[in-house]
Amino acid sequence: MSAQLKDVIIKPDASSSLLLDKHADYIAAYGSKKDDYEYTLSEYLRMSGIYWGLTVMDLMGQLQRMNQQEIIDFIKACQHECGGISASIGHDPHLLYTLSAVQILCLYDSLDAIDVDKVVVYVKGLQQEDGSFAGDKWGEIDTRFSFCAVATLALLGKMDAINVDKAVEFVLSCMNFDGGFGCRPGSESHAGQIYCCTGFLSLTGQLHQLNADLLGWWLCERQLPSGGLNGRPEKLPDVCYSWWVLASLKIIGRIHWIDKAKLRRFILACQDEETGGFADRPGDMVDPFHTLFGVAGLSLLGDEQIKPVNPVLCMPEDVLQRVGLQPDLLS
């Protein structure tokens, strides 16, 4: 009995050139076409959805096509008394959407639209005794939230508001024997969590605590014959995991360990030539989430039609220069 390798086959006629105009049109029109049902289904993550759309537009040099004032007003309306920001109006505040909102405001150079001091108080208040961060007042702990906390504070220039040493201690306690990280101590290594933890260690200046060769090894093993990357062993390749793995490799200075040309081919094959946008895998439905990570991945691979992207914060490098933030990368 033999296992069938979990991978996709890229057809010879799959897209092989980058259709930037189509992607910009797809994002610009997204939202206006959606019906009530679809809108309500995804409203719980609206703020992150806006961040994905705006960031990819900025990377493609098309940010001016989006309605800046409307978006800033929306973010203002989502800030709560506690300082935290929610995914949409009427929803509860959460660190995930607080980071997305801060990222959007950095793209627009408009941080003064919200009460920044209150955001800092909110983030600080979510740190636990063991250094970990809860995602909101209900207490769920996850290394993703450690990343959200330090990324938010780094963008605001307020890292000193929290106990960084304890925060680092907690993230390191989630490191596994394979060099990777999971959501909590003892949890399985997962490319998304690894991205958060390497990003966290970059922002806190602690990349030397990683076993970069061991982690790089695990990350490289995510590349499948199609060129795409998966997030864990025996999972299918996916454009978003391609970003998380690739960005992690970039952060730890091991991006040259994978076959870049094959990955580029995989990402390009995930474009929809008619509607624009990227899907998780060739032939699937496109969405803004995979569109951002497809374009950002191509940027990390060196595509010069796209602005350089920062691997830690998934934002255009020129925006971070303006903010004055340069997260560490290993060489």
């Binding site: 009995m1 033999s2 296992a3 390798l5 979990k6 019906d35 009530d36 049902y37 809108y39 309500t40 289904l41 409203e43 719980y44 993550l45 929610s86 995914a87 109006i89 009427g90 929803h91 509860d92 959460h94 995602g135 209900w138 207490g139 769920e140 024997f177 394979d178 999971g182 959501c183 909590r184 101590p185 003892g186 949890s187 399985e188 997962h190 061991l214 090894w217 093993e221 864990r232 062993p233 025996e234 999972k235």
Partner: protein, 450 residues
């Protein structure tokens, strides 16, 4: 079909009521689902109940979801008042359709906190949501919150009462809860392969409700034995085994005074499932059963042995699975670390534990030999327990008197023999690639640490 705003409102209110009364009338509903049905047929409710399965006809969802969604958000913005009963009904409908709507779970948390909603009802609702959405992160997060709420209630009761009976009731309740969580995780793992959220929840439950309880950990290791054998691609399932193994070994390697190994194996119900299939048993029992005498070290060695045996069997039976090779890395790494800490080698070379008590080994050594093909046969002759360059303390030596075959199985040399046998005999190209990667890993990661 309802179209005008008023008609939609009437329809939706009826459906929300139908769902809520279905739960009241049929407390044993165990699964939810969507019935593909683009148009309303006949003049009947879109809520269908068949044999404890609750179905919603798909035509009504596009009216139902936006309506209950907006109603809850209006309430949250204090634009519209809802009493607690209406809130319970609306959030129930909402969450069965869209369980990642965090704020709806939060509304229910508030109801639980103020005593209006029984937390057990939310364990039930989230369990049902997971039958349709087995990955839903927010559902798992809510479950953890509810469990913590219940645990806090427990500790509050324990502080108040000194009654033995009371404490026992709580302990039984806790055992039931753990059992229920394991079942929910298991079902969700069957519904979606490598379900990260389900398996990491399972780990969380043990960490928060059963830490240090060797029996629970051991029962879990037994209960997922068959499951992983039937899901050889499920990396998360194997990771769970790795977690259990590591915790058990850590616990068993601590000083005997802190916990009692003899409590592990007091029940015999699990023994059959942990006995490696390939081991003929002369006396019908593994030496493991004897660990009631407190032989922790023996138990640790056996755990390693059995896991390696399982892994070898599966790698040979199901070629080309990255998950199995990844599991092997972990088990070997764990062994390697454990050996460094507990069986120190003064000369820094690979430990070559020699076995003693060969008379007790029975058929085990044969399995071991066939595993490594050309394992030196003199490894398991009688003689004092020995680690190259370092003898075990005398009492450990006594503990090992029954003899454990493990060291002859888990030497670096034998790992190479195992890999080479796969490389020589297997025609599957993926299997070969994984075997080579494992070999490379042994040479690079393990060898530099020796």
């Amino acid at each position: 079909m309802a179209e005008s705003k008023e008609e939609v409102e009437v329809l939706v209110q009826r459906v929300v009521k139908d769902i809520s009364s279905a739960f009241k009338r049929h407390p044993n509903i165990d699964e939810i689902g969507l019935i593909q049905c683009p148009e309303a047929r006949y003049n009947r409710s879109p809520i269908v109940l068949v044999e404890n399965k609750l179905g919603v006809e798909s035509w009504c969802v596009k009216f139902l979801l936006p309506y209950v969604h907006n109603k809850l958000l209006f309430y949250r913005q204090r634009k519209h008042w809802l009493d607690s009963e209406a809130l319970v009904d609306i959030t129930c409908t909402l969450l069965l359709l869209n369980p990642d709507f965090t704020t709806a779970w939060n509304v229910r948390k508030e109801l639980v906190q103020c005593g209006v909603l029984n937390p057990e009802r939310d364990l039930y609702l989230s369990k049902l949501a997971l039958t349709k959405f087995p990955k839903s992160p927010e559902t798992w997060i809510h479950r953890r919150w509810v469990l913590q709420h219940i645990l806090h209630q427990f500790s509050a009761v324990v502080h108040k009462t000194q009654q033995q009976v009371e404490a026992e009731l709580l302990s039984n309740h806790r055992d039931r809860l753990i059992h229920q969580e394991m079942k929910v995780c298991s079902d969700a793992a069957c519904r979606y392969p490598s379900n990260y959220n389900a398996w990491s929840h399972r780990i969380w439950v043990l960490q928060h409700m059963a830490m240090g309880n060797i029996k629970v950990f051991h029962d879990e290791l037994s209960s997922v034995h068959l499951w992983v054998s039937m899901h050889v691609s499920d990396h998360s399932g194997f990771h769970y085994r790795q977690f259990l193994l590591k915790e058990l070994i850590t616990e068993l390697s601590q000083s005997p005074s802190s916990a009692s190994a003899s409590t592990i194996f007091c029940s015999s119900q699990h023994q059959s499932s942990i006995v490696p299939r390939s081991i003929p048993q002369a006396n019908g029992e593994l030496p493991l059963a004897d660990s009631a005498s407190g032989d922790r070290l023996t138990t640790v060695l056996e755990l390693f042995y059995q896991e390696t045996e399982l892994c070898s069997d599966l790698i040979q039976s199901f070629p080309g699975h990255e998950t199995l090779w990844s599991h092997r890395r972990h088990v070997y790494y764990l062994w390697h670390q454990w050996k460094k800490d507990h069986l120190p080698c003064s000369d820094g070379r690979e430990s070559k534990l020699k076995l003693l008590g060969a008379s007790d080994l029975g058929g085990i050594k044969q399995t071991c030999v066939s595993q490594g093909e050309s394992v030196e046969r003199n490894r398991h002759v009688s003689g004092p327990m020995e680690v190259d360059g370092a003898s075990l303390p005398d009492h450990d030596s006594k503990r090992l008197r029954r003899g454990i075959l493990l060291p002859c199985l888990l030497t670096l040399q034998n790992e190479h023999i195992f890999v080479n046998s796969i490389l020589n005999s297997c025609s599957n190209p993926e299997q070969k690639n994984f075997a080579l990667a494992y070999k490379n890993w042994l040479d690079t990661v393990i060898s530099v640490q020796i």
